[in-house]
């Protein structure tokens, strides 16, 4: 099969005797026929699942989308569809947008950590020739914020500035030099206030809390959010067989994306705002602009430019976006604002500096009886995503292990520093590191291999976590087994010479937040995609999914191409403008491929069904026996009986014109009913396991990571090239956090290293060899089985490196990053404590298996079979966290155990023993103190 012309019967061009075509007489291939490739390519059976007659292995069983596979592009490594624009320098990023008559906007920033603005006099600014518009906080008193529950930002300071670099005012001038000069002409009277830098101090009462939440304010503290979560039977932890306890300090890190923030605002002749911005979440910016500018959303068009990296750092609506719009409105001309790198650090939204305490216990059969986590996170000056981060720091540690009990206290405090926010692996990274290192330590005290400890305590596929998350596909076991084998773990762990080490770490992450922030999921879908096919056969896909470099546009194009069996060049994704794209929540929580591609598949099926119906009319064969393959539709048993894609299309269009279809995705109802139950809920979860190898120079403390075996369960790799890119990129980013990156606030509270020389992102020299291993567990609800691969792969690298450093030098380090001075100090202390002559005399740790080892191995062997049956849906019985401890999954756990608790507030008797962050529960809200409105 294979030599069917796309346009049977099309006349050939008129040719001269010398073989050349006659000018004006050549027949161009009809549009949509495939142009230079007129013959149909044979079906690529290697990429059609065995469950529907192809040759692609499906070890995890069949999938509802198997029937929609055509072997066209899904599963094949292809370059991202926008890569040509990028490698030729033609992609238009924020600062590339140049509108005629543009003005340059500059922002005046606070020189104070915390101060009240008593007055601003702009008269000297306005008098400067070349200044066209000036704006201050008074022009935009409406508050905004990425989460509707915590709107605490203004376009510019209205009453107070909250950190050095906070926005005070802005100007638009004819050129940059004038704008810069204008900034020195503001006359401002300040009243300096007592700043808070240490998050521990943030838990205490303060004369002037950084924000005031009225009756919900917690006493007079700077606590923005406190969380308490307790599940399971806490009596299990009273007499542990083994335990570990680690207190961590993790410094804040920044996304370090290449492109600084930039925005262009322009009020068009009809008075509509056109705003160009490299946003991950254009829709929230859209909403915030509407609120701040007092303009209805339909009078604003948010145009997402190409995004030069986001990683969570471009997902808040930003004050400078408001500034540009305000200035442009005043000036009546377009205004462009581009940040210097320092301003990028001042707007921040990076990972929270954190103090994390993790205690864990195990019983005498090596089951994990409890996790006890306390996380105090430093939010900086604004709430941003912090409400969610406060939950994630705890609840995202409730898997992949089966737990006897879980206890979490968290608090996020405001401090006078640039605001922390969401960053790749949002909220999960730091706790995950502490948990995974805790497991390593506990395994050591049990004399067992830490990988076997993990393998014997995994939740199976299709189960429920202790906090009520619904786990579907689960490739954790395979990931662990593959990195164990790939790294030759059993020959290396605890056997390498001093200075060389190997370590393990796992990860667990959401594949799309189950709860849309802005609306009720019962009413509206999470994602919507529109498809339109006109007479030329080209397919235009409208989606609001923001491609931030992660390849969401490619993923959407791929799934549409797959369903319609069209070359990917025929799919055109339009996602830049809010005017034309259906509302999408944006690129965060690793939701885009899962939700958008699902919506796109549904829309594509809508188009396909119209084409098949037309083909049915033409051929007389029912769609059930028709095959779609490379621009042709034909009868399953006789490929000669068929029509070209274009013929079917034109037939389908006969009465209607362009074909259109829409698809939407909504996650199923899930989760518990306790306060905070929605945090961390996702329609699917990703799992990963990494093994890292390090060299530690014991005389200098310099750590270099040499090799990483990185296995990630992404459900199904729609594009293995993109998945590998995400894995390798995640390794790089996570290595930065664990080894060198930190936002340094000096003794005066100033950010000391707001530049790319002193904020030390690893260079190519620091990159290890990364062996990316893709695990495919075929998620039942994921598009073609896919789950996320953008954030989860970052989690395991941190603990894997920290554990490897321990393996190399026998010193537990819990201050991140592990810069050489930190490692050296640890070594020095160890040498002194053990009375050694010098660092060379350190004996690296060794492992002699204890009696528990064989118990764990036996259990994990048993569980391997359990998991296989559950993964393939051969065993569909219920499984909830607790079965390992002997509970009946079909009866409520509370009925079976006396001490079973599912609590979101501490009991009075618990108050005395809460961890650091937990102390926020000692304070009362104003409304319970009889205070404030």
């Amino acid at each position: 099969m294979g030599s069917y012309r796309q346009q049977p019967g099309a006349p050939s061009s008129e040719v001269r005797k010398d073989g050349k075509r006659v000018a004006g007489k050549q027949v161009f291939p009809p549009p949509g026929s495939g142009g230079s490739e007129p013959q149909m390519r044979p079906r690529d059976l290697d990429f059609i699942p065995e469950t529907v007659g192809g040759k692609e292995a499906k070890p995890a069983g069949d999938h509802i989308h198997d029937r929609d596979r055509t072997g066209t592009v899904v599963g094949k490594p292809i370059p991202l569809v926008d890569s040509n624009a990028k490698v030729t320098g033609q992609a238009w990023y924020g600062d590339d947008v140049r509108l005629p008559g543009e003005l340059i906007g500059k922002i005046l920033r606070s020189p104070h950590h915390y101060a009240r603005i008593k007055s601003i006099d702009t008269s000297r600014v306005e008098a400067l020739p070349g200044v066209i518009a000036v704006s201050t906080g008074q022009d935009a008193p409406n508050r905004f914020g990425v989460l509707p529950v915590t709107k605490d930002e203004h376009a510019m300071a209205v009453e107070k500035v909250r950190h050095v670099g906070d926005l005070v005012a802005c100007v638009a001038a004819v050129d940059e030099a004038t704008a810069i000069e204008a900034l020195s002409l503001f006359d401002i009277e300040w009243e300096e206030l007592e700043p808070v830098f240490d998050p521990k101090k943030g838990l205490e009462d303060h004369d002037e809390p950084i924000h005031w939440r009225g009756k919900y304010h917690l006493a007079r503290t700077n606590v923005q959010k406190r969380v308490f979560q307790e599940f399971g039977d806490r009596s299990l932890v009273k007499t542990p067989h083994a335990s570990s306890h680690g207190s961590w300090t993790m410094m804040g890190v920044h996304h370090g994306f290449t492109e600084p923030h930039a925005v262009v605002a322009h009020w068009d002749p009809n008075g509509r705002l056109q705003l160009y911005t490299p946003q991950q979440v254009p829709h929230y910016t859209h909403r915030a602009l509407s609120t701040v500018l007092d303009v209805p959303m339909h009078q604003i068009n948010v145009i997402r430019t190409f995004v030069g990296g986001g990683f969570g750092g471009k997902s808040d609506p930003f004050p400078h976006e408001m500034c540009a719009a305000l200035l442009a409105r005043k000036a009546g001309r377009p205004v462009r604002i581009t940040f210097d790198r320092e301003e990028v650090y001042w707007i921040n939204r990076g990972r929270h500096p954190s103090h994390i305490d993790v205690k864990m216990t195990a019983d005498d059969s090596g089951r994990i009886s409890g996790f006890d986590i306390d996380a105090l996170i430093d939010g900086g000056g604004f709430a941003s995503f912090g409400h969610v981060t406060s939950y994630y720091n705890g609840v995202l540690a409730t898997a992949p292990y089966e737990l006897g009990s879980f206890h979490y206290t968290g608090a996020r405090v405001w401090t006078n520093k640039p605001a922390s926010g969401a960053m790749r692996g949002h909220g999960a990274v730091n706790t995950r590191c502490a948990v995974e290192v805790g497991l390593d330590e506990m395994a050591e005290s049990m004399n067992v291999d830490p990988i076997d400890l993990r393998l014997a305590n995994l939740l199976p596929p299709h189960s429920r976590t202790i906090s009520g998350f619904r786990i579907t596909s689960n490739g954790m076991r395979e990931a662990l087994e593959r990195v164990r084998e790939g790294s030759q773990w059993d020959k290396k762990f605890r056997q390498l010479p001093l200075g060389k080490g190997i370590g393990i770490g796992c990860g667990f992450f959401i594949s799309g937040s189950g709860l849309p922030i802005h609306w009720d999921p019962k009413n509206f879908p999470h994602a919507t995609v529109h498809i339109q096919v006109d007479m030329d056969g080209g397919v235009t896909v409208h989606t609001g999914a923001a491609d931030i470099g992660q390849g969401s546009t490619t993923a959407v194009a791929q799934v549409v191409a797959e369903v319609l069996a069209l070359p990917i060049e025929m799919i055109h994704v339009r996602s830049h403008e809010s005017d034309t794209s259906p509302v999408d929540l944006g690129s965060y929580s690793s939701r885009v491929t899962f939700m958008n591609a699902n919506a796109a598949i549904r829309a594509a099926i809508g188009i396909r069904d119209q084409l098949l119906k037309a083909a049915w009319d033409m051929l007389g064969y029912h769609p059930n026996v028709l095959v779609l393959n490379d621009r042709r539709i034909y009868y399953k048993h006789d490929p000669a009986i068929g029509v070209s894609y274009l013929e079917a299309l034109h037939k389908a269009q006969a009465d209607t014109g362009a074909l259109i279809a829409r698809g939407a995705y909504r996650s199923p109802p899930m989760g518990g009913v306790h306060k905070g139950a929605a945090a961390g809920l996702a329609p699917a979860y990703s799992f990963s396991a990494y093994v890292a190898e390090v060299d530690v120079d014991v005389e200098t403390g310099l750590v270099s990571c040499t090799n990483v075996w990185a296995a990630h369960d992404c459900g199904k790799a729609l594009n293995p090239l993109a998945v590998k890119g995400q894995i390798i990129g995640s390794c790089h980013m996570g290595l930065g956090q664990v080894l060198t990156e930190k936002m340094v606030y000096g003794r005066t509270g100033h950010l000391q290293n707001a530049n790319l020389l002193e904020y030390k992102i690893p260079s190519v020299h620091e990159m290890p060899h990364v062996e990316a291993i893709i695990v495919e567990s075929s998620d039942p609800e994921g598009p073609f089985g896919a789950k996320e691969a953008g954030e989860g792969p970052l989690l395991p690298i941190l603990p894997a490196v920290v554990n490897a450093v321990y393996d190399a030098i026998g010193v537990r380090l819990r201050n991140l990053p592990l810069t050489p001075d930190v490692v050296y100090a640890g070594i020095e202390k160890h040498v002194k404590q053990n009375g050694l002559e010098d660092a060379e005399a350190i004996e690296p740790p060794r492992l002699k298996h204890g009696p528990l080892q064989s118990v764990l191995v036996a259990r994990s062997d048993e569980h391997r079979e359990r998991d296989r049956l559950r993964q393939r849906s051969e065993d569909t019985s219920a499984y909830v966290n607790g079965v390992l401890f002997g509970f009946d999954p079909d009866r409520p756990l509370a009925e079976q155990v006396d001490g079973w608790r599912e609590a979101d507030e501490p009991l009075p008797e618990q108050l005395a023993e809460l961890g650091f962050a937990g102390r926020a529960w000692l304070k009362k809200e104003q409304r319970h103190m009889g205070g404030d409105d």
Binding site: H112, A177, H750, K760, P820
Partner: protein
């Protein structure tokens, strides 16, 4: 970031350059020399002491001279290669400066005349305003030093050039030229405290070239650089050592990135050698004791000081091999 405006001058001979400097001085106009610009121009963009005039040394042919014994100030670091007959120690040291891209512009002269660095100082104007400036760039406020406060006279910014200690242990001299004429001196004498003064250059004077003695070719050397990343990063500590193999009395050790000027550790080496045989660890400890880094670079001073011992030991072991 916007470059502040300045007038750029392009003299094509040494005389022209000196005359230009003299005429600007006569008019009381401030100026800076620029070579590769990889240090001075980023500082300008941060508005750290920008001047209205900048004189480029790039057009001066003499400044590009390169042989085994003479290195003109304009020679780019990427030309310090064995193919160009450059001393292996200098090749090694140059290859560790900044990044391969920067080394194409960065020059020998600029490296030796590098401005001292400090995290209270290498910051934007907005940033420095937020700490109310500091002594080295006080913008007329009389601000104090932020590293060692309450003294108001001294800047302790750190010299973080890589080449200087290496030239020192090769016993190099520098040729300076200015309106008052030409002078040659050992590189050791070129540097002068404090972090603002940096060196003996008088206004209008520039460093024309570096000259190595004939004996340098016999020296075996090693440079040990401490940095967090193997690219870009300035040294957090650096130790160079060299000797004529077999001749202990020829041993020289120099350090950089620890104080406001690089140092040749003549006294420490002498002290050690008069006490007995050459013992790398013992000498390393003496060198370590003699340096006093302060807290104004990426890594804490206590650690940098501790590392001086390791770096010195490693450099010595390497050359003694």
């Amino acid at each position: 970031m916007l470059m502040p405006p300045f007038e750029l001058h392009h003299p094509s001979t040494v005389d022209e350059a000196v005359e230009l400097a003299a005429s600007l001085m006569a008019k009381n106009e401030a100026f800076d020399w620029v070579a590769g610009g990889t240090d001075v121009l980023p500082n300008y963009k941060w508005r750290i002491n920008p001047k209205p005039h900048v004189i480029s040394l790039a057009g001066i042919e003499e400044a590009h001279a390169l042989s085994s014994r003479e290195l003109g100030c304009m020679v780019p670091l990427s030309s310090l290669t064995t193919e160009n007959d450059v001393h292996p120690l200098l090749v090694q040291a140059a290859s560790k400066v900044a990044s391969s891209l920067i080394r194409k512009s960065a020059t020998v002269g600029g490296n030796l005349c590098l401005d001292t660095r400090c995290f209270w100082y290498n910051q934007s104007e907005d940033w420095r305003r937020s700490i109310d400036w500091c002594h080295k760039a006080d913008c007329g406020t009389g601000a104090d030093c932020r590293v060692i406060p309450n003294q108001n006279t001294l800047c302790v910014a750190t010299y973080q050039g890589d080449l200087a200690p290496n030239f020192m242990v090769l016993d190099a001299s520098v040729v300076l030229i200015g309106p008052e004429g030409e002078r040659t001196m050992p590189l050791v004498d070129f540097y002068e405290l404090d972090g603002m003064k940096k060196n003996v250059l008088k206004t209008g004077e520039f460093l024309l070239k570096v000259v190595l003695p004939e004996e340098a070719a016999q020296r075996k050397g090693c440079y040990q650089k401490l940095r967090v990343r193997d690219s870009w990063d300035f040294p957090e500590a650096g130790v160079a050592a060299s000797w004529v193999p077999g001749n202990a009395s020829s041993l020289m050790v120099a350090s950089t990135a620890l104080e406001s000027i690089p140092r040749l550790h003549t006294e420490q080496v002498e002290e050690h050698l008069t006490a007995g045989d050459l013992d790398p660890l013992a000498l390393a400890k003496i060198v370590q004791k003699s340096v006093k880094p302060v807290n104004n670079t990426a890594l804490p001073p206590r650690y940098r000081r501790a590392m001086v011992k390791t770096l010195t030991k490693r450099a010595l072991l390497d050359i003694l091999e």
